[in-house]
């Protein structure tokens, strides 16, 4: 008989189809969907994150674990009592400033989605205007910016200035991260939050957007 611990292991090992099948099985057995979500899917995902931190897993494993988790979560959500969904109803515009690098940005997107946020991914090589325009048109609550090389740092400053000039700075929380950034720099640029790792984005979003 399948257990939630088995599901955790399948997610941790990124076996998407078996994990999906086991999620169905656990739900059919009548187990608590929140327990399946938290102790099975999310804990399995954390296991991969911990292995990654210990250099025992790679970003691709995190991406695959994200795919596995994303296959399981809708099944669980479908049986959650109406009104108790883990969806946050908060929208986050996410993208990379200037650079074409997307590994960290994609990982943040995956984790935010799994965390219940609606992610509007604007991709790579963005200008400050791209972030502003997308945030306005999508009705976003937050802007998350990946800054991975020095010239993009200047562009982040421009983004903050642009939002002020357009008189919308207070509408959005802004978080930033990436290889060349630091907590001190982010604070000096008036970012609302900074993260050194992808998973920090979820905690920041929950905190800044007051999500329980």
């Amino acid at each position: 008989m399948a257990t939630i611990a088995d599901l955790r292991q399948l997610v941790s090992e990124t076996h998407t189809e078996p994990a999906e099948a086991m999620t169905r099985e656990l739900l059919a057995e009548g187990l608590d969907p929140f327990a399946i979500l938290e102790q099975g899917v999310m804990t399995g995902l954390n296991d991969v994150g911990n292995r990654f931190a210990a250099k025992k897993a790679i970003v691709l494993d995190l991406v695959r674990a994200g795919v596995t988790a994303k296959a399981c979560i809708p099944l669980i959500e479908a049986v959650l009592p109406r009104g108790e969904s883990k969806k946050t109803e908060k929208k986050i515009v996410l993208g990379t400033m200037l650079s074409q690098h997307n590994i960290g940005k994609n990982l943040v997107g995956t984790l935010l989605s799994i965390g219940g946020f609606e992610v509007v991914d604007v991709g790579e090589k963005n200008s400050p205007w791209d972030f502003y325009e997308t945030a306005e048109s999508s009705g976003a609550d937050m802007i998350a910016v990946s800054v991975v090389f020095a010239p993009a740092m200047e562009k982040f400053t421009e983004l903050v200035d642009l939002l002020k000039e357009m008189k919308v700075r207070e509408k959005y929380r802004i978080i930033v991260g990436g290889a060349v950034t630091s907590e001190k720099w982010a604070a000096s640029e008036e970012a609302d939050g900074w993260g050194s790792q992808a998973k920090d984005a979820v905690d920041l979003a929950r905190d800044l957007l007051r999500v329980e």
């Binding site: 990654f52 250099k55 897993a57 790679i58 970003v59 691709l60 991406v63 695959r64 200037l98 074409q100 690098h101 590994i103 960290g104 090389f149 020095a150 010239p151 993009a152 200047e154 562009k155 421009e158 290889a179």
Partner: protein
């Protein structure tokens, strides 16, 4: 236009269509893992250096097969550009194995060198510093260029010039980059080294600025190279091909560069070394270049560590035995505590020894920015050149295990040099003397070191 550049452009419109996600998460890692297993390429998890010739040859073969099987993904068209085995062989056969960088009395001709070859690897130290103060930037460049063992430099990117910020895609970035070029030339003149090799235009991030930098003449085919670097994990775009064509038209040496990221889509240094070879062969095909800068980085945020140095030495040895290209590796990021810390000096020494025993022709020492450190790097490369791989590995192990004094507080260049005479302070010279003694005791010698 060269034949293979033309073919690359053509095939970017006719090659197999594929979503980028499928390429990077399915095709590329699957073929990579299969080839690693097929050629039995393994790192023991500890060794900081790879000095096994047979394993180097296996890495080269695996890297070549990787390029042939996977090809290069063109981001503009979402198509895969593939080359045939015959084309790659032709690119290898016709590659230039010797190049000259710099001009007149500062010209250096880089020829193939094997591990233990008396010809030392050339050392390229960073010139400038992270600032918008151009006088301070110039002073940093001068203190490096004034050293007798400065073979050439690679600038530090300028954040801006006074109030002019380095804004990509704008004329401001071009202005900043031209300022960088002007300062580098002025500093070289001041140091009595007109024609010194000045690396690549580091303040430029777009093809337009790169081309403008060469259009000015401040950077030119004698003193600078043009980056045509491949994008991580076997990807290209039209920017690379445009730059390759520009370099070809103007007789500028392409700067072929490969920087795979460990633990992103690569499981470890073995796969990164394979990818560096595949990248190099791909760039050889589309750019017709020769000078290759190869290094691995880590998504965990470091440029140092046994995994990274193993990868860099493995790829260098694989290339030395099979390509004979002028090969430059990125070594030593310095220490946040600065040039008065022991760690900074050990890192430079280890990078130089590793370059010598891996058959590298050059070393880009990105850490540190004082002239005395540049002198130390040049002297170490000369002193360690003839080391046999086994001797070098033993010396590196001793250096890694050596006791370090506690890190001091970081200090600025103003505290390390007399800003009028540009002479180093006693404490910095003392650090230099301490390390010449340490490595003399370990068995190296250089004419100006204690006997």
């Amino acid at each position: 236009m060269s034949k293979l550049l033309w073919e690359a452009i053509q095939r970017s419109t006719t090659g197999q269509l594929m979503a980028e996600e499928k390429f990077e998460t399915e095709l590329f890692p699957t073929v990579l893992a299969d080839l690693q297993a097929k050629h039995k390429i393994e790192w023991d998890g500890e060794s900081p250096i790879m000095a096994d010739p047979d394993l180097a040859d296996a890495i080269f073969q695996a890297g070549k097969e990787l390029l042939l099987e996977v090809g290069l993904y063109c981001k503009n068209t979402r198509r895969i550009v593939k080359f045939t085995a015959e084309e790659i062989e032709e690119a290898i056969r016709t590659a230039r194995t010797e190049i000259t960088l710099g001009k007149d009395r500062q010209a250096i001709t880089i020829s193939p060198r094997a591990p233990g070859d008396p010809q030392h690897p050339y050392t390229f130290f960073p010139a400038g510093t992270l600032t918008t103060d151009i006088e301070l930037y110039k002073t940093h460049a001068k203190v490096v260029m004034q050293e007798p063992t400065c073979d050439g430099v690679i600038p530090i990117p300028l954040y801006g010039v006074g109030d002019v910020k380095n804004i990509a895609d704008s004329p401001a970035q071009t202005l900043v980059c031209l300022t960088e070029a002007q300062i580098m030339n002025e500093a070289a003149m001041w140091a009595g080294k007109p024609g010194l090799f000045l690396g690549i235009p580091m303040s430029a991030t777009t093809p337009l600025t790169l081309m403008s930098a060469f259009g000015s003449g401040l950077y030119n085919k004698h003193n600078c190279t043009l980056p045509v670097q491949i994008i991580q994990d076997m990807r290209i775009d039209y920017d690379r091909l445009n730059l390759a064509f520009f370099a070809e038209q103007h007789g500028i040496e392409p700067w072929m560069s490969s920087s795979p990221a460990l633990y992103a889509y690569l499981t470890g240094p073995e796969q990164a070394a394979m990818e560096i070879i595949a990248h190099t062969l791909g760039m050889l095909a589309y750019s017709g270049g020769s000078l290759t800068q190869a290094m691995s980085i880590s998504v965990h945020g470091t440029y140092i560590g046994s995994d990274i140095s193993w990868c860099n030495s493995a790829a260098a040895l694989a290339a030395e035995r099979n390509l004979k290209l002028p090969w430059v590796t990125f070594g030593s990021m310095g220490n946040p505590a600065g040039p008065l810390s022991d760690e900074a000096w050990f890192q430079v020494a280890i990078a130089c020894i590793s370059a010598c025993i891996s058959g590298m022709e050059g070393l880009w020492l990105a850490g540190g920015s004082t002239g005395v450190e540049a002198r130390w790097a040049g002297e170490m490369a000369r002193a360690a050149a003839t080391l046999k791989p086994k001797e070098g590995v033993e010396m590196i192990k001793k250096a890694l295990a050596a006791e370090r004094a506690p890190d001091p507080a970081p200090v600025s260049l103003r505290a390390l040099y007399d800003m009028k005479t540009l002479r180093p302070c006693d404490e910095l010279v003392g650090q230099y003397r301490k390390f010449t003694r340490i490595f003399t005791e370990l068995g190296l010698s250089y004419p100006s070191w204690p006997h």
